[in-house]
Amino acid sequence: MRKLILITMIAMVLAFALVGVASANGGPHGGYTATTDACAGCHRAHTASGAKLLVAADTTALCFTCHGSNATGSVLNVTDGVLEATAGSNAGTALNGGGFGFYNGSATTSSHDTSGAATDAWGNGGGRGVASALAGGASLTCASCHDPHGSSNYRILKTTVNNTTIAVAQVDEGAQTYDSEQWGTGQSNICAACHNDYHITAAGSGSDVAGLAATGGTAHRIGMPWNGDAGTAAYIGMGTANPETSGFGGYTLPLAETGTNDTVECQTCHLPHGTSSAMTGFAASNGSVAGDSVLLRLNNRGVCEVCHQK
């Protein structure tokens, strides 16, 4: 009996000793030291309630405790897709990743489901137009794409997603401008980890290339300069205005490696968190995802027009 009491007391002492503070630098996403006390902000060594020793079962709810609609602990509100205004102005700006619930003040018409429900990903090895389970039957949460402990990638994106190693560079590592992109090379790699069948980078893939027939025909090329490789047929029909700096019809789209290669990435046209774009025409009733705005940045097929300027 005495042994039991002793063990219980030791366990209690350890449990209390492991309860500590959340943040070292305004957020728990790095800045740890060898004797950091930041771990217990999210984890419990012996009294955890969720997977990975988290304090609660719902990972996304943990993230939303700071980054949710009230943004009570961050300037980044991913529910509404808003970046807190810089000092001197009250109006926030649209978050470059979009919002899960709202974007530009309107309800999202499509978004990644981070609720933790079992998730299939389109183009995840089964071909384009086919949704397949993630590796190991994993569900999608914020932590599927972001590493809350920080990473060497852009926007603390994970270095391994869906069993795929990811490298996503950032032009300026010190940049904190979440409303304007800082994309370097490989920005699409994060999307390709789950949607690899859509990650077509072959020159000329926009034309009827026989080599692509096995994967369902031609596909828009990704990772190429917006105005094409000189002389390739794939870029016939392009407009002359840079879609990022000039745009078309009042709309612009972000490009990677701005000012040097100006490449088109997945995120040039799609908002990874979610979008409020409206699908009112053909897209509203077409295909297996009728009415789904498929994370597109602009209404209907506005993203096509910004580059192709028809």
Binding site: G20, N25, G26, L62, T72, G73, V75, A85, A87, F102
Partner: protein, 416 residues
């Protein structure tokens, strides 16, 4: 036993020899019995009186409880330290991700700010029955984000809005009255500059997303004015004391601070002349007197202000004379905080801090010179008495605690 009996008898014979030789008379015996009976009667009478006194005390306490319900230890001041956690009473449902709670001055109404669904402020009675709800005018759910709220002695409700960067003012029933757009500007003041005197039959609103001020007088055509220019801020935590003084936490990007606005602001009949002096304290950071997303600022009976310094995982204590005094709650061990958010102090100077990630309520005695950790209650879970990212708390004078249990979509009511 058999060996002791003769000895005892022998002793009795030796010590009381006269009893056997000189027996008491009948009269003596009767007097003795009478005296014994009288003694018993007196004892019974005394007992009866004590019982009656006790009954009177119980009736008195019961009557007092009916007049002003409160836990027994608080009604009967005992000369011992009361140090035990409250117990779970019941929950109020029909709320979408509540983040802020406040009571009306008479404590008969509970106001709850939602962060999900319609993002409305809902009104409940003490038993949890829904009375109504209200919203900032001309906003959609994605354009508003009510967080914390409080009431003044007149019953007006002041609600901070994270997306609109404003404090919306309503009457007790949720009728919109005005907005404080910045530390130096109210909406009615801005509108009055354009239209002159604001008459009773006008409506006006400002939506930060639309960057347009809307004004309408009676049946006349709607007017629009350009977005007002004012000092930027981002009000979050709000507390209004009985005198009307307002304490705010401001989480403007990299300019986190605590603001104090005078009672004139909350007790004003209207806000058409709005330029109150504001005491501002603190900067953005981790040092003493610095804050990282302060969520609540509440005063104790000594006049000290306790700030839940969210991302620094601590409580900072301020004084109106000396400014920053000290902080506590960082580190490990009893009373250590993970992510402090809403807070309240009861009439016994017990500070209750909602630890959103710790999934509990940590309680400190702040009546003395140094805060002392008393106890924590709650744990993560979905059952009664368990929390799933709680965010705010308010207490009433009867010992009830109302806690916004965000991810469980309910208000938990606890009591002593």
């Amino acid at each position: 036993m058999t060996n002791q009996t003769p000895e005892k008898d022998l002793n009795q014979v030796e010590t009381n020899p006269t009893e056997q030789t000189d027996p008491p008379s009948l009269q003596d015996l009767q007097e003795e019995i009478q005296a014994e009976d009288n003694k018993k009667r007196r004892l019974l009478l005394l007992l009866l009186l004590l019982l009656l006194l006790l009954l009177a005390c119980v009736c008195g306490l019961f009557y007092r409880y009916l007049q002003k319900p409160a836990p027994l230890p608080e009604m009967v001041p005992l000369p011992v330290e009361i140090n035990y956690p409250p117990h779970y009473l019941f929950s109020i449902y029909g709320i979408d991700q509540p983040v802020g709670v406040a009571l009306s001055p008479g404590q008969e109404r509970l106001y709850v700010a939602e962060s999900g669904g319609e993002r409305a402020v809902k009104i409940f009675d003490r038993d949890g029955a829904l009375i109504g709800s209200f919203l900032p005018p001309r906003t959609t759910p994605g354009q508003r984000s009510p967080v914390y709220l409080d009431t003044n002695q007149a019953g007006r409700v002041f609600v901070t809005d994270r997306l609109q960067h404003a404090i919306f003012i309503y009457d007790a029933d949720g009728i919109y009255l005005d907005s404080i757009l910045g530390p130096d500007l109210s909406l009615s003041e801005y509108v009055a500059k354009h239209v002159g005197t604001i008459e009773p039959d006008v409506t006006y609103a400002y939506n930060l997303f639309e960057q347009d001020v809307y004004f309408k007088k009676g049946e006349e055509q709607e007017l629009n004015f350009p977005a007002p220019d004012h000092e930027s801020w981002s009000p979050l935590g709000i507390f209004i004391d009985r005198t009307g003084r307002m304490l705010l936490t401001d989480v403007a990007k990299e300019k986190n601070s605590i603001r104090q606005l005078p009672a004139d602001v909350t007790m004003a009949v209207n806000w058409q002349e709005f330029n109150p002096p504001t005491d501002t304290f603190g900067t953005f950071g981790q040092g003493n007197g610095q804050f990282l997303f302060p969520n609540a600022a509440v005063p104790d009976s000594q006049g000290r202000v306790y700030v839940t310094d969210g991302n620094n995982g601590r409580i900072s204590v301020l004084d109106s004379q000396e400014g920053f005094l000290f902080h506590f709650g960082q580190g490990s061990g009893d009373g250590a905080l993970s992510l402090p958010r809403g807070a309240t102090i009861d009439e016994q100077d017990r500070l209750y801090v909602v630890d959103a990630v710790g999934q509990d309520i940590k309680t400190y005695d702040v009546s003395g010179e140094d805060p002392a950790f008393l106890f924590a209650f709650g744990e993560w879970g979905l059952d009664d008495g368990q929390f799933n990212y709680p965010n705010d708390i308010v207490t009433d004078s009867t010992g009830r605690l109302y806690i916004a249990d965000r991810e469980n979509n309910r208000i938990q009511v606890w009591s002593y």
